[in-house]
């Protein structure tokens, strides 16, 4: 079973110390203080691919669009069990929307004989939750989004569970080749072993620029996009909580008193 996993390096905004500030262009954010990590849902995608490979054999190819620094995320996926990787990088890719992004990914994936392409169901930075579905249409294969369980039925069929509102699972069969967008919590992502990390340094990361994709500059970036992010703005802030001031001893005393007054203690 050959599986392609698309991964994205994103700022670690789960860290409460990471503040997001709009930069002077108004179309970007100040990245100088960010630490970067693999997108959380993509990490589950990597794990799910490796689990399937361990059970059914085959190859796991990691594909990522990003700068050289994204090699760190790619190497970690290779250390966990990915076999090889493709990293797509070109200045022309900047400001690509979901559609243009999917075209870039497709250019790298179309020549791979895959059974399944996996992406995370959503990126923590832009949150479109749409790249996998877009990619599926470009590849001409069916897809399932928000996948929380995968089971191989036969060599052509998977049984997948999609997570809906309220945690309801929608179980369905899907024919391979297909694209699955993987929801967090589907498995327990492993940590890379030292042996794995050592071996990963020898595995191939193929670099593809615009010329290598076979796409023209009109097909990627803002030119090749169907939608354009005009600019960021700070959200209108609703009425804020009454902030209890002081050190931990003072604030906890104030809060305990409030809870007591309201009859909750």
């Amino acid at each position: 079973m050959n599986i392609v996993v698309c991964v994205k390096q994103v700022p670690d905004t789960s860290d409460p110390d990471t503040e997001v500030h709009i930069d002077s262009t108004g179309r970007g954010v100040d990245q100088s203080k960010f630490s970067f990590v693999i997108n959380e849902a993509d990490n589950y995608g990597v794990e799910e691919a490796i689990l399937l490979k361990e059970k059914h054999g085959g190859e796991v190819v990691i594909v990522s669009i990003g700068p050289e620094a994204a090699n760190q995320v790619i190497r970690m996926a290779l250390a966990k069990g990915g076999d090889r990787a493709i990293r797509l990088e070109d200045e022309a890719f900047a400001f690509s929307d979901v559609y243009a992004t999917a075209k870039i990914l497709q250019s790298a994936i179309k020549d791979i004989e895959f059974d399944v392409v996996m992406t995370g169901c959503m990126a923590s930075d832009d949150g479109y939750a749409a790249t996998g579905q877009t990619l599926a249409q470009l590849l001409g294969v069916p897809h399932a989004a928000y996948v929380k369980s995968v089971e191989v039925i036969d060599e052509k069929t998977l049984k997948v569970g999609r997570e809906l509102e309220g945690g309801l699972l929608e179980m369905s069969e899907i024919k391979m080749p297909c694209v699955l967008t993987i929801q967090t919590g589907i498995n327990e992502p492993r940590y890379a072993s030292f042996k794995g990390i050592r071996e990963a340094s020898k595995k191939e990361i193929k670099i593809m620029d615009l010329a290598a994709t076979g796409l023209s500059s009109d097909e990627v970036g803002e030119n090749g996009s169907l939608s354009v992010l005009k600019g960021y703005s700070m959200p209108e802030v609703g009425e804020l909580a009454e902030i209890l001031e002081g050190d931990a001893s003072e604030t906890s005393t104030k809060l305990a008193t409030i809870l007591k007054e309201k009859g909750l203690v």
Partner: protein, 320 residues
């Protein structure tokens, strides 16, 4: 602009509220609004939609009884090509979010997802959506096209009674071939645990800020001294620190306790959707810009590892 299509969503025999929310939003944009419904035995839904739309276009066929992307996409693609709406609104739900991108690409339509507000400038939509977990907004514009597809977040706009009496048109199924690449099997309900947090009077809700499993006993103690139950955000459940039936949010439970004490929770909309009906919300978070403070009555901006132990002691003192 040509008319606006709104895709109605139903599941397990119920028309979902998001359908009415989107029809309400569409009715304020100007053009004529058509509710589009695919289903099986859905005359009743068509009648209900007629009071929210200028027209209801529906296909009644067993192949649409449950959502299957390939079948829905095939049918909608045919309908959109034939009717040429200027704008198609679809709920950004587990169904809609699955469907929108591939349908849009098949049709060559500009699209975006998870929109929280939408306006028309001339014949073109301008959409606002959130980035970085709701910390900033982004404005999205589109290349010129005949039709645009927009995924609108659930509960972004409240549904209103519109008192319309739209014309109901039941049409032939545009798809005559069998769809074989995907097949719906069944729905599996989320497991029920020992504590039903939707019935809890008080909840201590734990988020990613707790950082490690070994810090959970401190939260258990806080819940215990308060007489509250423990709940959590998706991150905590994904990490296995709490069972799935304790998850609050869109893909978890919707709770309305007397006290919701959110500790180390940033307050992304996926979580907030499940707790904003709580009577009293208190948030403890290190990040003063965390969206949770917009939903809280009281907030403490500090390190939870300092505040929680102190709070446990104070509550113990008060209880004597």
């Amino acid at each position: 602009m040509n008319e606006i299509f709104v895709l109605a969503e139903h599941r397990q025999g119920e028309l979902r509220e998001v359908s009415l929310e989107l029809l309400t939003l569409a009715s304020k944009l100007g053009p004529k609004v058509t509710a589009v419904l695919l289903g099986s035995g859905v005359d009743e839904f068509a009648n209900k939609l007629a009071s929210y739309a200028d027209r209801v276009l529906y296909v009644d066929d067993s192949m649409y009884a449950n959502y299957v992307c390939s079948a829905y996409q095939a049918a909608l693609s045919e309908l959109i090509k034939k009717e040429k709406p200027g704008l198609v609104l679809i709920g950004n739900t587990g169904q809609g979010s699955d469907l929108i991108p591939s349908l849009a690409v098949e049709l060559g339509c500009p699209f975006t997802t998870d929109v929280i507000s939408l306006t028309l400038e001339g014949d073109k939509p301008v959409a606002v959506r959130q980035f970085y977990g709701g910390k900033i907004n982004g404005t999205i514009e589109f290349k010129d096209a005949e039709t645009y597809l927009i995924g609108v977040r659930e509960a972004a706009v409240p549904a209103e009674e519109l008192g319309k009496s739209g014309e109901i048109q039941k049409i032939e199924n545009p798809i005559t071939t069998e769809i074989t690449v995907q097949k719906f099997l069944e729905y599996v309900e989320a497991a029920v645990g020992e504590v039903d947090i939707t019935q809890s009077a008080m909840l201590v809700a734990v988020g990613r800020g707790i950082r490690e499993d070994k810090n959970m006993p401190m939260m258990e103690e806080l819940a215990q001294v308060l007489g509250a139950d423990l709940a959590g955000s998706r991150a905590v459940v994904d990490a296995g620190w709490l069972p799935p039936d304790r998850q609050v949010g869109i893909s978890g439970k919707t709770v309305k306790p007397k006290l919701y004490l959110a500790v180390g929770i940033s307050g992304a909309f996926q979580h907030v959707t499940g707790m904003k009906g709580s009577e009293l919300v208190v948030a403890i978070n290190k990040d003063p810009d965390a969206p949770i403070f917009q939903y809280a009555d009281y907030g403490i901006v500090d390190d939870l590892f300092k505040v929680v132990p102190a709070l446990i002691e104070k509550i113990k003192e008060l209880k004597g």
